[in-house]
């Protein structure tokens, strides 16, 4: 049973077509990467799943519920049970890390004792002990991204959407965090949707990859299958560019 389903999605900004008849499903509990070159429409997909942007036509289903139909957002972002992680981290700079984690829980009206318990669980999980009273600018880049992931997870959403979360980090930090994200996925059993243009990242983390280009769905499949036996020429070219031969 898919947790996310997109049916014939069309989206444009002004005269430019961003998404062109995209239909796809994402299965529950999996780690799906959406891979594509810059400007292919990855972030637009991320945003429409989260309910942040309207579409021109098509339907978006979240957990079997019709969430967006054509230009109408039927299920508001905070009712979709999703957590977001961004490349620019986007922690709220005027709030301490503790308060950053507390905000979603308070918004969703968690009881006080549960809020404290849940925040401490997250802080332990992300190795942020002793840093919870600090403000975002007082943390390193890696610590900030961990706090960003903690904030996305804290309200226990069914779906975690990540938009190039490691793109601005250095190589070693990226490797460490990748392992951490993988571990979190395995233990939490939640659905992870990971937007990236980094093939290494997509292949290491995912159990399913969706390739898009110029707003069109090119191919979807298991990482090994896409690498060894792609159905489309674009996939073959994109995953094995001539310079690699």
């Amino acid at each position: 049973m898919p947790i996310i389903e997109l049916r014939h999605i069309h989206q444009s900004f002004g005269a430019s077509k961003i998404l062109n008849d995209i239909s796809l499903t994402i299965s529950r509990g999996g780690f799906t990467s959406i891979l594509g070159p810059t400007g292919s429409g990855k972030t637009s997909l991320f945003r429409l799943i989260a309910g942040l942007d309207e579409i021109d036509s098509g339907e978006v289903y979240i957990d079997q519920r019709l969430a967006t139909r054509d230009s109408q957002i039927l299920l508001k972002p905070h009712k979709r049970n999703v957590g977001l992680v961004f490349q620019d981290i986007a922690l709220w700079p005027h709030l301490s890390i503790y308060k950053n984690l507390e905000f979603p829980l308070k918004s969703l009206k968690y009881p006080k004792d549960k809020i404290v318990k849940r925040i401490h669980e997250m802080i332990d999980l992300m190795n942020l002990k002793g840093l919870d009273k600090r403000y975002p600018h007082q943390l390193s880049g890696g610590q900030q991204q961990l706090a960003g992931i903690a904030r996305a997870l804290v309200a226990d959403p069914d779906i975690i959407l990540m938009d190039e979360p490691l793109a601005s980090l250095d190589y070693h930090l990226k490797k460490d965090l990748r392992k951490k994200i993988k571990r979190i996925h395995e233990t939490s059993k939640k659905t992870f949707v990971y937007i990236t243009h980094d093939q290494e990242e997509a292949f290491e983390l995912s159990d399913e990859i969706i390739i898009i280009d110029e707003g069109r769905l090119i191919e979807k499949g298991k990482p090994e299958k896409l690498l060894t036996d792609p159905a489309q020429d674009f996939t073959r070219y994109y995953l094995n560019p001539p310079s690699h031969h």
């Binding site: 942007d53 905070h78 922690l91 709220w92 700079p93 918004s107």
Partner: protein, 532 residues
């Protein structure tokens, strides 16, 4: 670096001679007057008439800054976060009260309730006659409404700019777990709180210094008392004493402002621009509220003034009778705008030079000179420069003193516009010129200025408009036999026929709107040309 210090010395020297020293001189003279008089300072301040003045000034400032900020936050949120059609038109409309001189706006507003006008006619059908409305508007109510009409639009624009400093992904992250209203309450407003408090203080101070509007609605406030004692009774010492509470209040608020700006710098974040779509389901309602506000408080009063029986022949006659004042205003505004743009450019170049050690003091100078009441500046300048020596007499008796006052009071606008643009220029532009062997001045003229020419034009235009409508300082320092159009309107308003004052007001609005609209059209054409 030597050139930097020389330029900085010129700026400091100017601020000392045409701002700080006259103000310090005024304070010393005021204190001396107190000491010389039999009246004790506290006794003087506690006199009922003085307490009433202070009470009126503070109440008006509090009401106007409170309402302007609250409504400004509401409209600012709409302009920033709600998807609206014609948003650009809304923003342009909100700029109109900024460029129309406050006194002229008061005239427009009051005339809107005359029985022969559209709104006045409607209200009289409802039983609210012209006299009733005039008595309601008399004093605090009229002053507060008109000042709110001026400050709400500009507050809305500033608030929307302030909110756009919040990265769109921060808002997106909040939208997945919270309602839009809660996002505003818990994320947007607390994030921007230093900026918002700062706006409150600036409006408070600008209202406190307001002379023309309370005077128009016969509300006794401190600046009005300063002017009355000075111009009507020629009692300089009482005028100085009356200005002291205003000076002290301004100083306190200025210090708060400086502290707030330092605090808000701590929250600076990398801004990711993105589409905002808050309050999706209420956007029609919000658009309607913004439209009604703009229509009632901007287009209706100004349009009503234009629709009064002002025939072409009458306007031509008015122009021929006011040629000197129109010429004086245009000439002063042109010179003022030229000096302001050059001065602002010099300040902006110093402020954006990473190696210059005193760059942070530039903002300090600009903020101080802007938020300091223009009426105190006028009084201080006249007391300081009205001395019996050739140099003082030269400044005092020429229109140069007005130019320097403009330079002191309005430099924040060109300085901020140009330094913001300079900050965005890649450093490599200048570095490449340096490697090619071009000296500093050559680099500025041939590499920097062509890249910021749009900001130079904007700075010039904005400075021109502010200089053209200035009254508060000019009324104190205009030399004998030299009058500007706003001063003529201000002095004529009480004793001249209504249609003459309305005609002169229309003339001034046209003088302001024609260059403003032409520049907008030119910019739009340039943008279209660039696209092609």
């Amino acid at each position: 670096m030597k050139r930097h210090f020389a330029l900085f010395a010129v700026i400091v020297f100017f601020f000392l001679l045409f701002g700080l020293l006259p103000i310090i001189f005024l304070v010393i003279r005021s204190v001396q007057e107190f000491l010389a008089s039999d009246t004790h300072l506290i006794v003087y301040l506690l006199k009922k008439s003085n307490l009433d003045l202070i009470k009126n000034s503070l109440s008006l400032s509090l009401i106007v800054s409170g309402i302007s900020l609250s409504v400004g936050v509401f409209f600012g949120t709409i302009l920033w976060g709600v998807q609206l059609r014609f948003k650009k038109l809304f923003k342009l409309s909100l700029l109109i009260p900024l460029i129309i001189p406050p006194y002229i706006y008061s005239i427009c507003f009051e005339r809107m309730f005359y029985k022969e006008s559209l709104l006045g006619g409607l209200l009289s059908i409802l039983g609210l006659g012209e006299q009733t409305i005039q008595s309601i508007l008399h004093g605090m109510t009229g002053s507060a409404i008109v000042l709110c009409g001026i400050f709400i639009p500009i507050t809305s624009l500033i608030v929307s700019t302030l909110f756009s400093r919040i990265s769109s992904s921060m808002i997106d992250a909040a939208r997945t777990c919270s309602s839009d209203f809660r996002i505003m309450l818990r994320i947007v407003l607390p994030f921007s709180k230093h900026g918002l408090i700062s706006i409150f203080f600036v409006i408070f101070l600008l209202t406190l210094a307001q002379l023309e509007i309370p005077n128009f609605f016969s509300l006794n406030v401190i600046p009005f008392e300063v002017l009355t004692q000075f111009a009507a009774f020629h009692n300089y010492s009482l005028s100085m004493m009356a200005s002291l509470p205003l000076f002290l209040l301004s100083l306190i608020i200025f210090m708060m402002e400086v502290i707030l700006i330092k605090k808000s710098d701590l929250l600076a974040n990398k801004v990711k621009l993105g589409k905002m779509d808050l309050f999706h389901s209420s956007r029609t309602l919000f658009a309607l509220s913004l439209f009604i506000f703009i229509f009632i408080l901007i287009y209706l009063p100004i349009g009503n003034l234009f629709s009064r029986n002002l025939s072409l022949t009458f306007m031509v006659q008015l122009i021929s009778e006011s040629t000197t004042e129109i010429w004086n205003s245009l000439y002063l505004a042109f010179l003022g705008a030229t000096f302001l743009t050059l001065f602002g450019l010099a300040m902006a170049l110093l402020k954006t030079d990473r190696r210059f050690p005193f760059k942070s003091s530039i903002d300090f100078f600009s903020i101080f000179s802007f938020i300091f009441p223009n009426i105190i500046l006028g009084l201080a300048l006249i007391l300081f420069w009205n001395q019996e020596n050739p140099l003082s007499s030269f400044f005092y008796t020429s229109s140069l003193i007005i130019l320097f006052a403009y330079l002191f009071h309005f430099n924040i606008f060109p300085q901020r516009i140009l330094s913001d643009h300079l900050k965005q220029l890649p450093r490599s532009i200048e570095e490449a010129g340096m490697l090619a062997g071009a000296g500093k001045i050559k680099r500025i003229i041939f590499l920097i200025l062509p890249n910021i020419k749009e900001s130079i034009i904007t700075s010039f235009l904005l400075s021109f408009l502010f200089c053209l409508g200035e009254i508060g300082t000019t009324i104190f320092i205009y030399p004998p036999g030299f009058q500007t159009l706003p001063i003529k309107i201000f002095t004529m308003a009480a004793n001249s026929p209504e249609h003459v004052v309305s005609g002169l007001a229309v003339l001034l609005i046209l003088l302001i709107l024609i260059p403003a609209v032409s520049v907008l059209v030119i910019q739009e054409m340039r943008r279209k040309y660039a696209h092609h």
